[in-house]
């Protein structure tokens, strides 16, 4: 009979009249209140580099998809860079993550090989999945990436199981489960948050609320105004953070990850964000507002937010930031060349890797 100290359910009921800005701002943490004195130049450099790599990877994916050189479906992470880069800054190769439909960003931030990633979405034999997984299944287990996932909500169980393994092995490792606002309405969200809580698993559930599950708004599809408040039902902390503010994301995630490493159990973090592009490439996005508060939020660029922060706080100069940006562009262009030069998978590879021998 543990957890008698649980608070009763919060009284907050859904405010159906809330404006878009109110939905964004509801209980949200920002770097003005979470500022960390010890954010080093090295850490800032590394995080900014990851943000640039994600952005440039996605801009190139967009370009080559439009040119017909990348086949299939592509779901771009652009606009959400601060979340993957801010959270993964705390992780090492043997901390696992599970990713989503919109998974390129997590894979980049967790150290996935850029060449292997690009070759994979081009469907080439040197891809991380030998060209057999594609955009929705990018994975690099050696880097602790249990895969992007074509099933919305597919990562919850994988992450929970990896956390069960960490707990059993008592290895001090954590798991981060990234998921979108759409996945928060899958039943397995409930099952896994509940299991993680009853077993105090070393796992952090990082929600990326970009306000649209495909073409359906979160304010329509969710009975609660926020995802974070659902944590109360599972006796775990639920925190809402500005997902375009990497300093805030980094700070909140760091605390949750430390808590998990210390055996104090799971945390739910809702990162409020927005996607720059459609659900998939080719989506006309007729559901998005073309003016007003939503448009204003859409135009906040998390890379600019961090550039301003680092300059204002004397962490990096504009020249240093520009240098990282230019280097990133070159690295991604090199990844595109690598992908284009990589051969198509051999016909016999169709039959391989179904079973382990």
């Amino acid at each position: 009979m543990a957890k008698e100290e649980n608070k009763a359910m919060p009284e907050s009921m859904k405010d159906v009249e809330a404006s878009f800005k109110e939905l964004v701002d509801l209980d949200v943490k920002t770097s003005t209140e979470t500022r960390v004195e010890d954010l080093t130049k090295d850490a800032s450099t590394s995080m900014y580099k990851n943000m640039e790599n994600i952005r440039n990877f996605e801009e190139n994916a967009k370009r080559y998809f439009a040119a017909g050189e990348i086949p299939g479906f592509v779901h771009l992470y652009a606009g959400e860079e601060a979340i993957a880069a801010g959270v993964c800054a705390h992780l090492s190769d043997d901390d696992f993550i599970t990713s989503t439909h919109r998974g390129h960003g997590h894979c980049v931030a967790k150290g996935g090989d850029l060449n292997g990633m690009m070759a994979e979405i081009f469907g080439r034999s040197d891809g991380l999945g030998k060209g057999k997984g594609g955009s929705m299944h990018i994975a690099d287990i050696d880097k602790g990436i249990l895969g992007a996932n074509g099933m919305v909500g597919g990562g919850f169980g994988l992450a929970t199981g990896a956390a069960m393994r960490n707990k059993y092995k008592k290895n001090g490792k954590v798991v981060v489960c990234f998921f979108g606002d759409g996945a928060a309405n899958e039943g397995v969200f409930h099952e896994c948050l509940n299991m993680a809580a009853i077993w105090d698993l070393p796992i952090i559930f990082v929600n990326e609320n970009n306000f649209y599950a495909e073409a359906t708004p979160q304010w329509y599809a969710s009975a609660s105004n926020t995802i974070a408040e659902r944590a109360a039902a599972y006796s775990m902390p639920g925190v809402r953070v500005n997902g375009k503010d990497i300093v805030a994301v980094h700070d909140i995630a760091g605390k949750a990850i430390e808590r998990a490493r210390n055996g104090e159990g799971p945390t739910l973090i809702e990162c409020v964000t927005y996607r720059m592009y459609g659900h998939f490439e080719g989506d006309e996005q007729s559901y998005k507002a073309q003016s007003g508060e939503e448009k204003e939020w859409a135009e906040v660029d998390p890379l600019d937010v961090f550039r301003e922060y680092t300059i204002e706080n004397g962490l990096m100069t504009e020249e240093e930031l520009d240098e990282i940006r230019e280097q990133s562009k070159k690295d991604i262009e090199a990844a595109v060349s690598y992908a284009k030069e990589s051969p198509e998978p051999s016909p016999e590879s169709l039959y391989k890797d179904v079973f382990a021998d």
């Binding site: 991380l128 249990l146 597919g154 382990a356």
Partner: protein
């Protein structure tokens, strides 16, 4: 010297020996121990059930709740967690109490476990054995009695084992847990009380090999799970008519042993497959298709599939008995292909 054990105890012994051998083997499921966090049981290191039919009894007291994990009633949550455990180096053995519950948890098998290795370019290993239970015969009605091993068997990346004897159950379970792949180990609930010789030692039976349980010359009967005993009964009966029947216990439904079945059909020229699954798109129809393709010239008559009807499993005893393939139904079908042999 015979060493008779119950079918359920053979499975329990295999799990015990696998856990003894490898600390990465973890059991999880609903009430596989029972009574978690109940203070009067905890004080004495006791479980309540040890599985809904007692198959896993004694393992929690021996290995502790860290390795025999009672889960909430969250089939999707714990089945997909088992996939995550397997992908990160453990050898989980999740129990899906009744195979009929797969609707809640199918993505763990269909969407994740079966495809990860392929999608990730061969870099993932998913060493996971799903224990589950199928079969009609105990008035458990439509949602607790189906036979769905064939559904799993149609998924690339999944192996499916259906043992019929205690000896095979133990050896196949130990093989399944040693596998670096997803194996569905489907147990027929009506066989738990059956007895047979089971050596005490650790031994394995290769997955993918059928077993000729009775040799014969004129007619091949391929069986799955408890249908073995229907096949053997039919063979006894037909022997009186001088029809010699070969009975092949398939043991592994996916990948099924094409060579053993084809060799037998080339010898006998006649084939009946008995499968308790519903009659369409099942293992029996797949066997009929492959044998027609590979051994058409050897056949002396049509291949007969004796399956459950195309209905859910009924509750009433008389209807349920009518549902399950039995000796009369098989003999009836056999008539058409062996009439020329009867003395």
């Amino acid at each position: 010297m015979s060493n008779d054990k119950l079918f359920m105890n053979a499975i329990n012994e295999a799990l015990d020996q696998a856990m003894e051998k490898d600390e990465n083997v973890i059991l999880l499921g609903e009430d596989i121990a029972g009574g978690a966090d109940v203070s009067h049981l905890e004080e004495e290191n006791k479980e309540s059930w040890g599985g809904v039919f007692g198959v896993t009894a004694g393992l929690m007291p021996k290995y502790g709740r860290e390795r025999v994990i009672d889960t909430p009633l969250s089939e999707m949550g714990y089945m997909s967690s088992a996939v995550g455990m397997a992908a990160t180096g453990l050898r989980p053995v999740p129990e899906l109490m009744f195979n009929d519950f797969i609707g809640f948890s199918f993505d763990a098998i269909l969407g994740q476990a079966s495809k990860m290795r392929y999608m990730f370019g061969g870099k993932a290993k998913i060493p996971m054995t799903v224990r589950t239970m199928h079969g009609a015969g105990v008035n458990a009605a439509a949602q607790h009695s189906g036979s769905y091993y064939g559904i799993f068997g149609s998924i690339p990346g999944v192996k499916v084992v259906v043992p019929a004897t205690p000896y095979d159950a133990k050896g196949l379970m130990l093989s399944a847990i040693e596998e670096d792949n997803v194996v569905i180990f489907s147990e027929d609930k009506t066989l738990y009380g059956s007895k047979g010789d089971v050596p005490d030692d650790y031994y394995t039976i290769p997955i993918g090999e059928a077993d000729v349980k009775r040799e014969g010359e004129h007619l091949t009967i391929v069986t799955i799970g408890k249908m073995l005993f229907v096949g053997l009964d039919v063979a006894e009966t037909l022997e009186k008519d001088n029809v010699s029947v070969e009975v092949i216990d398939l043991r592994t439904v996916a990948p099924w042993d094409q060579e053993t079945v084809i060799q037998s059909v080339k010898k006998t020229g006649r084939l009946i497959v008995i499968d308790e699954a519903n009659p369409h798109n099942n293992t029996a129809t797949d066997i009929a298709s492959v044998v027609t393709d590979r051994a058409f010239d050897y056949l002396d008559g049509p291949i007969k599939c004796v399956c459950a009807p195309n209905t859910p499993v009924p509750f009433a005893t008389n209807l349920e008995q009518l549902y399950i393939p039995n000796k009369e139904k098989v003999l009836n079908e056999a008539d058409e292909i062996i009439f020329d042999l009867k003395a």
